[in-house]
């Protein structure tokens, strides 16, 4: 009896350490990626490097949304010469702030022998400290030498030590090593002939997934110590990062990408038709949804599907105007619960969805239905044919077709339109109780709005029930898994990752559809760091091979 009991204990201990579910299936991994930092990642990194009071003034070229995510588009992004000018300008502004009189005492680890000349020792101390953080990997000796040389040369030329330092720093901030997240690989000792991410790339991949920023000192140290190549060490770091308040920053970044919040930058509403939709509403609408998400998914460790039915949210003074509800603290954010009989339930009834997926002067059942399908269910809706006549659906004052349902019903009579609209319209029409700004209404042109419908064989009677339909749709959770993994690796799941994706989806379900658990499953997996064997030479960062040292980053 005793041996079997010991055996049980051992099994229990093993389960506690490595989880109770089936073991992780083999995965091909994907090709190494070179992803351009998103603007938010750039800003977060600068803040982590130098503090939040260093201003990053300006914007970078937008990324192209690919396979539903900007983060995948980032792997296909280049920097044009004109875009580089913006990087150059911003890098110079950042560098000037870092060494100005308000910051140098904190950010420069030494004082020069003379502020009006070169000081190689002090410059070396500065770059030796900041270099590995900027490049997210150790700085090679000759790179450091070159940085010191260039910085001192500039300092001598302009008779200003700090100007020389800023010159070198700005150069580092313009290198591909800083601006791109490159997957550096190394031979995989466990699988001869194959490659894997090196520890520094592992650290970056992990950090940008969970925190949307550069690795912190502890993670860099773990990489240095080889801890990230051990299952136990990796798990320790992942647990630390999941427990950090910074996890919210990472989760917000993923959902902002998935929900397409970048399009808020160009969102415009007709001020005559929707006077309450002021700029502050645009900003607060995004914030409301992101706060709803982090509160439910992180603070409460809730079920992802409940995002589509929850009546719990937060509200600000400007949003109160559009939602037409009282706000206890109009100059800040306060918790808010929509009443059980309120038509608003779930994030698809929040302004960030219904206003974003509308026209400037009217609602759009089609755009909303398309967005629900594509964003939350990962179902691609084909683009309309080029010769479609939209005049009927655009004419909101047509006395014969007073509601969107009537207009779309007539529009669908054209065979070329019917197929796609049959997919999109039922979901979109369920949201017709919200006008183009997201304000609740019961009529359109004095005609009652019928928000009932049927989606994939499931009937519903109104707006709030649409959320339940999405909540219960199996595609909702599989879509989320697909999106989150694609976001994590910067590419769509590869053909050789089918079993891994099934495993992830099963794990997501087993853990009650909780996002932190899904992130843990991804971040501690082998698949997350696996690199598919390349047919040709090993991919590398722009302009250099994977094994070559990074460039100096200094100007010449």
């Amino acid at each position: 009896m005793v041996p079997s009991f010991r055996h049980c204990l051992a099994v229990v201990a093993a389960l506690a350490l490595f989880g109770c579910g089936p073991s992780e299936p083999g995965s091909s991994g994907g090709p190494p990626q070179v992803r351009r930092l998103t603007e938010e990642q750039y800003r977060n990194t600068i803040a982590d490097l130098f503090g939040r009071d260093i201003k990053v003034a300006g914007h970078f070229d937008p990324l192209n949304r690919t396979d539903g995510l900007l983060e995948i588009g980032a792997a296909r992004a280049a920097i044009t010469s004109s875009a580089f000018e913006q990087y150059d300008l911003i890098a110079r502004q950042i560098a000037a702030q870092v060494v100005d009189e308000d910051h140098r005492d904190v950010l420069v680890p030494c004082s020069p022998a003379s502020p009006t000349g070169a000081d190689a020792a002090c410059a070396r101390a500065f770059f030796a400290r900041i270099g590995p953080q900027i490049y997210r990997r150790p700085l090679e000796a000759k790179t450091l030498d070159r940085l010191v040389e260039v910085s001192c040369g500039a300092a001598s030329s302009v008779h200003d030590f700090y100007a020389g330092l800023a010159f070198g720093l700005a150069g580092m901030l313009e290198t591909p090593e800083f601006l791109f997240l490159a997957d550096y690989t190394e031979p995989d000792p466990d699988h001869p002939g194959q490659r894997r991410l090196d520890v520094w790339s592992r650290a970056s991949r992990l950090s940008f997934l969970l925190w949307n920023s550069m690795p912190d000192a502890a993670l860099m140290q773990a990489a240095q110590d080889g801890e990230l190549n051990s299952r136990r060490g990796l798990r320790r770091q992942v647990e630390r990062m999941l427990d950090s308040p910074r996890l919210a920053q990472g989760v917000r970044a993923f959902f902002a990408d998935m929900l397409g919040f970048d399009t808020f930058d160009t969102l415009a509403k007709d001020p005559i038709i929707y006077p309450a939709f002021v700029q502050q509403v645009t900003d607060d609408a995004q914030e409301q949804t992101l706060r709803t998400i982090t509160e439910l998914l992180i603070a409460k460790k809730g079920d992802y599907r409940d995002l589509f039915t929850t009546r719990e949210t937060v509200i600000s003074g400007s949003l109160g105007l559009v939602y037409d509800v009282p706000v206890a603290k109009p100059d800040g954010w306060v918790p808010y619960s929509f009443a059980v009989d309120d038509p608003r339930a779930g994030i698809i009834t929040q302004l960030s969805f219904v206003a974003l997926h509308s026209h400037p002067g009217r609602s759009s059942a089609t755009l909303r239905g398309k967005a629900v399908r594509e964003i939350f269910l990962c179902q691609k809706v084909p683009d309309p044919p080029g010769n479609v006549n939209f005049s009927l659906v655009q004419d909101t004052k047509n006395p014969n077709y007073k509601t969107a349902r009537q207009r779309l019903t007539a529009h669908r009579s054209a065979p070329t339109c019917a197929g796609c609209h049959k997919i999109m319209d039922p979901m979109g029409l369920a949201l017709e109780n919200f006008d183009g700004a997201g304000q609740y209404r019961t009529t359109e042109n004095d005609t009652p709005i019928d928000a009932s419908g049927e989606v994939d064989g499931i009937k519903f009677t109104g707006t709030a029930e649409l959320g339940k339909v999405v909540h219960d749709n199996p595609a909702t959770t599989s879509c989320l898994v697909n999106r989150l993994y694609g976001y994590a690796v910067g590419r769509p799941p590869a053909a050789g990752e089918k079993d891994w994706m099934k495993y992830l989806q099963a794990g997501f379900a087993e853990n009650g559809y909780r996002i932190p658990d899904l992130l843990r499953l991804i971040a501690t997996s082998d698949a997350f760091y696996a690199i598919a064997p390349a047919p040709g030479p090993a991919p590398a960062a722009p302009g250099r091979s994977a094994s070559a040292p990074p460039p100096t980053g200094a100007r010449s």
Binding site: V278, K329, Y336
Partner: protein, 385 residues
């Protein structure tokens, strides 16, 4: 069998059924009595406040003698050509730049707005017309003196209502700075209010119907939150406002055909004007507000007796505006005391307040009380909107 007193009988089972039916009916009635129709609440934020002036296009009807001059113009007119030439440095200094000289022209250099009785200027040009906006405050038709009023002339509203009291209009109606063409003195405070100022709030509770409610409570508050504008600069309805702990007043009123009328109440109305926080102390203040059918806006009058001390404490501080608003402190001070018609001093008989009417505009808003711990967590079911 039971008799019914008429020789008929009712089977027990039927009687039992009748009893149940009767009990059910009683229960329904009881429920109806315990659950009367829900009263509604309407919150309003005052977005504009202006002296209610009856103006004709050329002003001849109300101001046949023309408009008042500013204190600087009156003072300059008293100077000899030599004095004027010296003060303006042979015409090189604009007369408007001589404001301080005009202000501090008391016999001993006193500021004539802080000390308006130290000099005697030509009298204020007052309204000569018969028409005015306003309300009959003293209840008389002829304006005769009563225990609470001094004798005064009455006005008739443009639509013919008689017995209107508005001595403030009589005093100020011919002054450029208050008239539509030059209403700087009141439009600047309105601008401050629209640019994030804290409005006066009016909360009407106990509403049966926005068109007619026999008895409602009307409370006044001062908001601690500013108003929000749309992109065209208009105040948006349905914003939320927390209330300040002070400035809490309540009275009762009624809504007849969409017009709210309140019982008199003494109220300090706070406002921010010309870079100063001030108050209007209105005694016997009452509202006459037209409520929009959708409850999203209102417009009408606040009328009552404008306390002269409160009035002059404000005027003395904005005295330097006489060059742009064209008023003269000594003349104005004399006029308001001469024409004051309310609250006579028991000892001197001098009235200490003047009847006044102010036009106000308001939009709907949610009023958040300090003790509403759950405010923002749920929408009050009794809101009008």
């Amino acid at each position: 069998m039971m008799g019914n007193g008429k020789g008929a009988s009712v089977p027990l089972s039927v009687r039992k059924g009748l009893l149940i039916a009767a009990l059910a009916a009683v229960a329904l009635l009881a429920n109806a009595a315990a659950d009367p129709p829900r009263k509604k609440t309407l919150g309003l934020a005052i977005t504009a406040w202006r002296t209610a002036l009856y103006e004709t296009p050329d002003g001849k009807e109300e101001c046949p003698d023309g408009l008042n001059l500013g204190g600087d113009q009156i003072w300059l007119a008293t100077l000899t050509p030599e004095q004027k030439d010296k003060l303006t440095r042979h015409g090189t200094v604009e007369t408007t730049q001589l404001r301080d000289y005009a202000l501090e022209r008391g016999p001993h250099g006193e500021d004539v707005c802080w000390n308006p009785a130290v000099v005697k200027d030509p009298p204020q040009k007052t309204v000569q017309g018969k028409k005015s906006f306003g309300i009959n405050l003293d209840g008389t038709e002829d304006g005769r003196a009563t225990s609470k009023t001094c004798g005064h002339e009455k006005f008739v509203t443009p639509d013919g209502s008689k017995g209107i009291d508005n001595q403030w209009y009589r005093v100020i109606g011919c002054t450029y700075g208050w008239r539509a063409a030059g209403g700087y003195t009141e439009e600047m405070p309105n601008g401050e209010l629209r640019d994030g100022g804290h409005p006066i709030l009016v909360e009407i509770t106990g509403i049966d119907d926005l068109r007619n409610s026999k008895d409602v409570q009307v409370a006044f508050f001062h908001a601690t939150d500013g108003m929000i504008k749309d992109n065209a600069g208009r105040i948006l309805p349905n914003s939320s406002y927390r209330v300040a702990k002070d400035y809490l007043y309540a009275t009762r009123g009624r809504i007849v055909d969409g017009v709210l009328t309140t019982n008199p109440i003494d109220i300090h109305f706070p406002f921010y004007a010309h870079f100063m926080h001030s108050e209007r102390f209105i005694k016997d203040a009452r509202l006459s507000l037209n409520l929009a059918a959708d409850g999203k806006s209102a417009a009408g009058l606040v009328a009552g007796y404008y306390d002269l001390d409160s009035f002059w404490s404000y005027m003395a501080r904005i005295g330097e505006l006489f060059t742009v608003a064209h008023f003269d402190c000594p003349a104005l001070y004399e006029a308001v005391h001469r024409l004051a018609d309310g609250y006579p001093d028991p000892k001197t008989g001098q009235c200490t307040a003047m009847s006044a009417a102010f036009g106000v505009e308001a939009v709907s808003g949610y009023i958040i009380h300090p003790d509403t711990k759950t405010a923002g967590m749920s929408q009050p079911a009794d809101q009008v909107r």
